[in-house]
Every structure is written in structure tokens, then in C-alpha cells.
């Protein structure tokens, strides 16, 4: 595969390309950023990246949103786009909210106890308390 070919495909699959970059940015934020609050925000970005990719998989050029306008006429699969990815993403969004809330609650408790959001500092303090 030539580089030009690859670039052309990347441009055509722009949603997938963007979500790949977003995913890595979010994951890097989750792993390397020391601020707990930002880890939580980065988690939101990472999840959104996956959802973006999944939704773009369901899109078909020139088809309508999967809501049947006239139920008396049998729907044709040629008219509506694929509804399955949207269903999966809907599930995923709600899951990610509960995780956001949970990790924020943990962050707040840690801030209350150690007065810091820096994970390294918090770990150092908690180990010192233990010894």
C-alpha cells in the first residue's frame, strides 16, 4: 500500500481517523496526566472517541435516520441507515456517565483527605501515613 493510498483512505474514513487520534489523546490523558480531575475528563474523551467510531460504522451515505415515518408502509432496508451501532452507543454513553460520577466522587474524597489532586503526591502521602 502506498502512502498516498493510505492518506486517501484516511481522509475518506475521516471519522475513524479522528476517533483514533482522540482515543490515543484520551488514553494518554488517563495514563500520563497526574491530575486526577483531568484523568476523569480524559476518560470522557476516550469513551467518546470509541462511540464516534462506532456511530460512523453505522452511517450509510444517502440513507435516513432510523425512524420510520409512515408505519403503514413496510420499511425498506435501502432507505434507513443501520440502527444497531446507535443502540450500542446509547448504552455506552450511559455507562460512561456513571463511571464519571463514581471516579469524581473518589477524587473528591481524596482531595478532602490529602488536599491535592496530584496522584503521585496522594500516593506518597498515603504511603507515609501507612508507615
Amino acid at each position: 500500500m502506498h502512502l498516498s493510498e493510505i492518506l486517501a483512505t484516511l481522509a475518506a474514513n475521516r471519522f475513524a481517523t479522528a476517533s483514533a487520534i482522540l482515543f490515543v489523546v484520551g488514553m494518554a490523558g488517563m495514563i500520563f496526566n497526574r491530575n486526577l480531575f483531568k484523568k476523569v475528563v480524559a476518560m470522557g474523551f476516550m469513551d467518546s472517541a470509541v462511540f464516534l467510531f462506532l456511530t460512523s460504522v453505522g452511517f450509510v451515505e444517502g440513507r435516513l435516520a432510523p425512524i420510520v415515518t409512515d408505519p403503514s408502509v413496510p420499511a425498506s432496508a435501502e432507505v434507513y441507515s443501520n440502527p444497531l451501532p446507535a443502540g450500542l452507543v446509547l448504552t455506552g454513553i450511559v455507562v460512561s456517565v456513571s463511571f464519571t460520577a463514581f471516579s469524581l466522587a473518589l477524587t473528591m474524597r481524596l482531595y478532602k483527605k490529602y488536599h491535592s489532586l496530584d496522584i503521585d503526591e496522594i500516593m506518597m502521602k498515603s504511603q507515609r501515613n501507612e508507615d
Partner: protein, 100 residues
């Protein structure tokens, strides 16, 4: 035309995600997060997934940012040094809810 709008929005998403990692304060991070949510819900409209757009606008932009703001308010109250104005935060929270 559609492709151009989509590309602009996608670049905006990436810029938001990178910017959120490098802001100094926490409040801008939340605002960037809300911007990100708004953009992604527009993208979902473009991708013909209106269910997702509504849910993201309500959950990702509304509830998530409210939670972040409340967390910041609670934590800054724990900071004894801070004399932050509750009114300001309350207004923002109200706006977040009204966006729904």
C-alpha cells in the same frame, strides 16, 4: 460541503481534547469538555443518529458538566484559602441545566 463541515468539527474535537489536557485551571477544562460534548452531538446529528444527539446533549453536556462544576465547587470550598463566590458557580450550574 458536508465533508468540510464534518472535517472542521472533527478537528475541533481533537483540539478540544488536546487543550483540555494542557489547561492550567480546572474550570476551563470543564468548559472545554462541554464544548466537546456540544460538537459531538452535532456530529451525531450529521451522522443521522438523533437519539444519540439528544442523549449526548442531555447527559454529556448537561449532567456531566454539572457534576464537574459541583465537584469543583465542593473541592474549592475545602480549600480554606479560597473565598469563592457561590453565586457565580450557581449561575453556571443553572445554565448547564437550562441547556437541556
Amino acid at each position: 460541503m458536508a465533508a468540510v463541515i464534518q472535517t472542521i468539527l472533527l478537528i475541533g474535537l481533537i483540539v478540544c481534547a488536546v487543550a483540555a489536557n494542557f489547561t492550567r485551571k480546572l474550570l476551563p477544562t470543564v468548559i472545554i469538555y462541554a464544548t466537546f460534548g456540544t460538537m459531538i452531538s452535532v456530529i451525531w446529528l450529521l451522522l443521522r443518529a438523533p437519539d444519540l444527539a439528544i442523549t449526548e446533549a442531555a447527559v454529556g453536556v448537561g449532567i456531566d458538566s454539572i457534576l464537574f462544576l459541583v465537584a469543583i465547587r465542593r473541592m474549592s470550598r475545602l480549600d480554606k484559602t479560597g473565598e469563592e463566590t457561590p453565586q457565580e458557580t450557581a449561575e453556571e450550574t443553572g445554565e448547564g441545566a437550562a441547556e437541556n
